[in-house]
């Protein structure tokens, strides 16, 4: 019994944020909060560290720019210079303006897809993955705070009491 997780169900985003703040401030570690939409302020309330996922976008984007620069240089300057319409084609610097559109597009292409797939992989959302929300109502209109009582200094009843006082409409238990 004591190893079972506590799922405190709320029906309002603001109450959820408040409840999250109350238990976190009391030194209880909140595993996570399930919600049907992004609840603003919840990251701050349960002390969730800032995501660094935009770094991935930057790195992939930079990869795109460098790849496009290398590709245009290799293909049109180094390997087989083409003189089309008298446009300079014998040095990258002179030909650079023509290469800007392709460099820009590849920056966006790699940056965007790199970021999307990074997001999918690190969040475990992939085709065929199983969802982990404990209650189907969390994608509709309910909010659940998940706490593992075995890892807290406080007694279980004390935690449940706090969650209820903060406005929980149900307390469920699960693995």
């Amino acid at each position: 019994m004591s190893s079972k997780l506590i799922y405190a169900v709320y029906d309002d985003p603001d109450t959820t944020v408040e409840a999250g703040r109350i238990v976190t401030d009391a030194g209880i570690k909140v595993n996570t909060v399930y919600s049907p939409f992004p609840v603003h302020g919840i990251d701050d309330a349960i002390k969730l560290p800032r995501t660094r996922i935009s770094v991935a976008a930057f790195l992939f984007g930079a990869m795109g720019t460098s790849f496009a620069a290398w590709m245009t240089w290799y293909m049109l300057i180094y390997d087989w210079p083409m003189n089309v319409g008298g446009k300079p084609s014998f040095s990258f610097a002179e030909n650079f303006p023509s290469f800007v559109p392709v460099m820009f597009e590849l920056t966006i292409l790699l940056g965007a897809h790199g970021m999307i797939w990074t997001f999918f992989f690190i969040s475990g959302i992939l085709p065929g993955a199983k969802n982990k929300n404990p209650d189907p109502r969390t994608t509709d209109d309910k909010f659940i705070i998940e706490i593992d009582p075995s890892k807290q200094a406080q007694k279980e009843d004390e935690i449940i009491g706090m969650l209820k006082n903060a406005g929980a409409i149900e307390i469920n238990r699960g693995e």
């Binding site: 919840i42 820009f104 475990g124």
Partner: protein, 466 residues
């Protein structure tokens, strides 16, 4: 939660709960389609099949079955290409640019507008490919050494830039759209009782659980993708305009093209969004979410972009005169008074004069009138591309090669076919996808829902009495 000014009209009508939003938006997916839907679907599917037939005939016989000739070597095909790409722009504008500007009204329309973007780009992309005549060598546009040696593609050519721009635009829009769909698919999944439906939405929702960390990353991804899509969408029509602007054809070789094309694209795209949404909100009973306020906002964007387009037309005309270049001057004289002048005046009438009526509030909040105007703008913008392409080409530098362009039934058939494909895809979308971004909409319910705003007002009054 922060309240919104009472002066603002609520974005969600009626006293909705979170659950009611889920119910309303999942209803078309779970319910049965009406007769009207089947009728529309049949008509669109027949048109799409007709288009596939025309394309097969074209590919089997050759591009000669189109009305093109030595002088007018671009006509309906590229007109349609530019028209469809332009239509696509509204979706990205709504989902990316309006996200950066924190415009809450975008949330009710972004999903379907983005779907429209994707379907429009599918239709657009078809035209350059079939114009090759030999579809199976389409991969020659990719940066591969061709089989005649180590010759590569030419990165100096705007046509090649277009290959990169359109494919990036299509795939990034698709990724952006799908990322936004995942939480909503999860909502549909979690309420399914029919096993096979649950299975399908289980797969499409990628196992989304909606944890705080997932939402935090989701929001960051949406913001950064919006930041990337904004310059992307501007670059796409800029590059499409480069196809013309970097050439030496009078009427095309102008520096005004990029901003003028981008504004025109957004203008026509919003018109198409209105055409689709005004029907969709009625048929799917989404009037509480896509309100007159939403339509009015879109009409305001139509005035702005329509006016930019109007100014561009007149600037172009003036600069042609002022340049002192006789070829340039003749190109514009021919547009306005030549044998295709009728198309020029349709363009001017539909794009410059008619959108100005939206300055009148009564008209821009009238849904029937807006629907009519959205069709007018779509026609006008098609003719804009036709005027630019055909009138510039058919009387070029060499009067001995002057000719006319007449479309053949295959030209018309392929165009009608893409319309069919577009509407077929959109109709399928409207019955299988959550057509409104539920999760996003729920996040503004307490700020901009009618019921919540009313309670907030009463609350404020109570405070006044003390």
């Amino acid at each position: 939660m922060h309240g919104e000014s009472q002066y603002r009209v609520p974005l969600i009508r009626g006293d909705k709960t979170y659950h009611q939003i889920t119910e309303d938006i999942c209803a078309p997916i779970e319910g049965r389609a009406g007769k009207l839907w089947y009728l529309a679907f049949t008509v669109s599917a027949v048109a799409a099949l007709w288009g596939v037939g025309c394309i097969s005939y074209l590919l089997g016989t050759g591009v000669g079955v189109w009305g093109l000739n030595r002088t007018v070597n671009w006509a309906w095909d590229i007109t349609n290409f530019v028209w469809w790409v332009g239509i696509g722009h509204a979706g990205t504008l709504i989902s990316a640019v309006l996200l950066l500007f924190r415009q809450r009204w975008r949330m009710a329309v972004n999903r379907s507008a983005e779907a429209m973007t994707i379907f429009a780009v599918v239709c657009a992309g078809m035209f350059p490919l079939i114009h090759m005549g030999r579809l199976w060598v389409g991969y020659w546009t990719l940066p591969l050494p061709n089989q005649f040696g180590s010759l590569w593609v030419n990165f100096n050519s705007p046509l090649l830039w277009d290959v990169f721009a359109i494919s990036t635009y299509f795939s990034v829009s698709l990724g952006f759209w799908y990322t936004g769909l995942i939480p909503d698919f999860a909502t549909v999944r979690d309420r399914q009782v029919i096993p096979w439906m649950k299975k399908i939405y289980q797969i499409t929702s990628f196992g989304w659980s909606g944890t705080a960390k997932q939402w935090q990353r989701f929001e960051e991804v949406s913001l950064v993708l919006a930041g990337m899509s904004t310059p992307l969408v501007l670059s796409v029509h800029t590059i499409v305009s480069f196809d013309f602007a970097t050439s030496v054809i009078p009427g095309w070789h102008t520096t005004i093209f990029p901003p003028y094309f981008v504004a025109g694209a957004i203008f026509s795209g919003f018109a198409m969004v209105l055409t689709l949404l005004l029907i969709m909100r009625k048929v799917l009973k989404l009037e509480d979410y896509i309100t007159v306020g939403h339509v009015e906002s879109m009409n305001k964007i139509i005035i702005v972009t329509g006016s930019i387009v109007g100014v561009a037309y007149i600037t172009e005309l003036f600069v042609a005169y002022y340049s002192g270049v006789q070829y340039e001057q003749y190109a514009f004289l021919n547009r306005a008074t030549g044998p295709l002048a009728w198309s020029y005046w349709i363009m001017m009438g539909c794009n410059v004069i008619s959108p100005q009526v939206f300055w009148i509030k009564k008209l821009r909040t009238n849904l029937t009138f807006t629907f009519f105007m959205s069709l007018v703008v779509n026609v006008g913008m098609w003719f804009e591309r036709f005027v630019i392409i055909v009138t510039s080409l058919h009387r070029d530098y060499l009067p001995s090669s002057w000719t006319m362009f007449y479309p053949t039934w295959v030209d018309v058939g392929v165009y009608v076919g893409t319309m069919g494909i577009f509407f077929t895809l959109f109709l399928l979308f409207s019955r299988t996808f959550p057509v409104i971004a539920m999760a996003e909409l729920k996040s503004i319910l307490k700020i901009s829902g009618e019921g919540w705003k009313k309670r907030q007002k009463e609350h404020e009054h109570e405070h006044d009495h003390h």
